[in-house]
Amino acid sequence: MSRETQNVLLILVGGALLTIALNGTFLRYVKPSQQPWLIASGALMVLLALVAIGRDIRGAGTAEAEPHDHSHGRARSSWLLLLPVLTIFLIAPPALGSDVVSRSSASPVVAGSPRHDQIVKTVFPPLPAGTPLEMRMADVATRAAWDATNSLDGRLISVTGFAAHDRGTVYLARLVISCCAADAVPVKVRLADPNSADLPDDQWFTMTGQIEPGSATPSNGYVPTFAVSSRHPVQAPADPYEY
């Protein structure tokens, strides 16, 4: 691969990073705090390529500028840099959704929040006031499973997530990521009412209702049951994951 082609590839990769970082689609792949890093590394890639192009134009390039350098074997791998660029610009893969929920269901995964590791119930700080109380899905799942004060009992809460079917059960689910989408872990509540049975997968809803006391047990992987009193279809949020 010639230097010119390498430089064009670098500009394409850097440009792809800058594009998704600036138009917000990066939130489908990584967490929000990565944004400055993506912008900086994208800009640096473009800058490195531009400097090299500038030097070539002035004729000050390295000996490597010869199109036939003796490193065919490794130069070939650089072509693969095109793959993420084409995937980002042409296919723009969507955020992960219900497919991940059914894929990881058989494992004894409890909801994403770290506290789940403790097998004993602990005392959680009291919930703030508000009816219905808006909560993160991960907090709902965590409190339902581990809160010794049963703070969710009798509270009207509202949660946002997408519908996901798995082995005949419907869930309202959310994915928790800690670095990028490759480490996504699902958190979910079971929707037991018959009205929810045919909700379309990956449709987002904001649902209001109550957690059934004591419904998160070891035998169901600590997934609580949610008694829904109202539900509204909503647009998928710009940042689809919880962190």
């Binding site: 792949y29 490597e64 490794r74 042409l90 894929r103 990028c180 490759a182």
Partner: protein
């Protein structure tokens, strides 16, 4: 008309644009969509760290004379190996950053065993990773020193082992060759050229790793872990293999390990020690940087050593 790489690039881009609708249709299968998202996520997540690694590598090539590194490290490789392991504490990054860096210090005359120890230690024992581990296991803080000790032992043991049995000819000659720059090139130009060159080269291999990780994540899933239940030995081997397959960033793997609450802590510690040392993404990067002959020996060796080191480290510090 000659076939130049620029023309091939143009042809590929045009072809991709034309076949876009077809491609989107083909990929409209849940499993493939998931794999595509994971692939992009791994690449996007790792790219800043790779850039950081190549910039540091370029800076070393341009501004650090070879003699300085040799003077700082103990002359005896057996002593220099643990020093390099502890030096890993200073590079707060993922494994992707340390591969180009290890290659550069080798090029500057540091013995391979010492550079490889740094390569293994840096992504596993730095403060960012240890803090992330503490946050992920608030009820089991012994995981933090156990991870530190297990990873440091692994890096040091592999370094000593390499000093004993490793041969320079296993490392591809091109990895140790300096860039053929004209004499009299300014330092900043050496910096730019080295960083650019490393980035283009390592970037391609990072993509190989991302592809492999995405394919394996979708194909393997985590469902089979349930079957392991309480079998400790089986669980340890399974989690070691899972770490290789999932290729998670070392700053994120603690949270995934924490979420696998059905397993005892010891197999999960093995997962945390093996993951930063050897996974499909790293194997691809190492094969590209140091050659296939190197990766074919180094990866299995690291895998075995990491698994063997993490168990006593865990038991010693009370991880059950």
């Amino acid at each position: 008309m000659r076939v130049t790489s620029s023309r091939v690039l143009c042809a590929l881009l045009v072809l991709a644009l034309i076949s876009r609708a077809w491609l989107v249709g083909v990929l409209d299968v849940p499993a493939l969509r998931t794999a595509a998202t994971i692939f992009v996520a791994v690449c996007v997540q790792a790219m800043p760290f790779l850039v950081l690694g190549t910039l540091l590598s370029g800076a070393i090539a341009a501004f650090v004379p070879a003699t300085v590194l040799r003077r700082v490290l103990p002359r005896n490789p057996m002593l220099a190996v643990p020093v390099a392991g502890l030096a890993g504490v200073t590079l707060p990054g993922c494994e992707c950053a340390s591969v180009p860096l290890a290659r550069r210090v080798m090029q500057q005359g540091v013995p391979p065993a010492v550079a490889l120890t740094f390569l293994l230690a840096a992504p596993a024992v730095n403060p960012v990773v240890l803090v992330a581990t503490a946050v992920a296991f608030p009820g089991d803080l012994e995981m933090v020193p156990a991870r530190f000790l297990g990873s440091l032992l692994t890096a040091t043991a592999v370094g000593w082992l390499w000093a004993r049995v490793g041969r320079t000819e296993w490392i591809a000659e091109r990895a140790l060759r300096r860039l053929p720059l004209r004499t009299g090139t300014a330092r900043w130009e050496v910096f730019v050229e080295t960083a650019r060159h490393d980035l283009v080269e390592a970037g391609g291999f990072l993509v190989v790793g991302g592809l492999t990780a995405a394919a394996l994540q979708v194909a393997v899933g985590k469902g089979w872990l349930e079957a392991l239940g309480g079998h400790l030995a089986v669980g340890i081997v399974a989690m070691a293999l899972l770490a290789v397959v999932l290729a998670l960033c070392s700053e994120a793997d603690a949270f995934v390990a924490a979420s696998l609450a059905g397993l005892p802590l010891l197999p999960r510690l093995v997962f945390l020690v093996v993951g930063p040392a050897v996974d499909v993404k790293l194997i691809a990067l190492q094969a590209g940087t140091f050659g296939k002959a190197f990766a074919a020996r180094f990866a299995p060796m690291t895998f075995v050593v990491a698994t063997l080191c993490s168990v006593p480290a865990g038991l010693l510090l009370g991880v059950r």
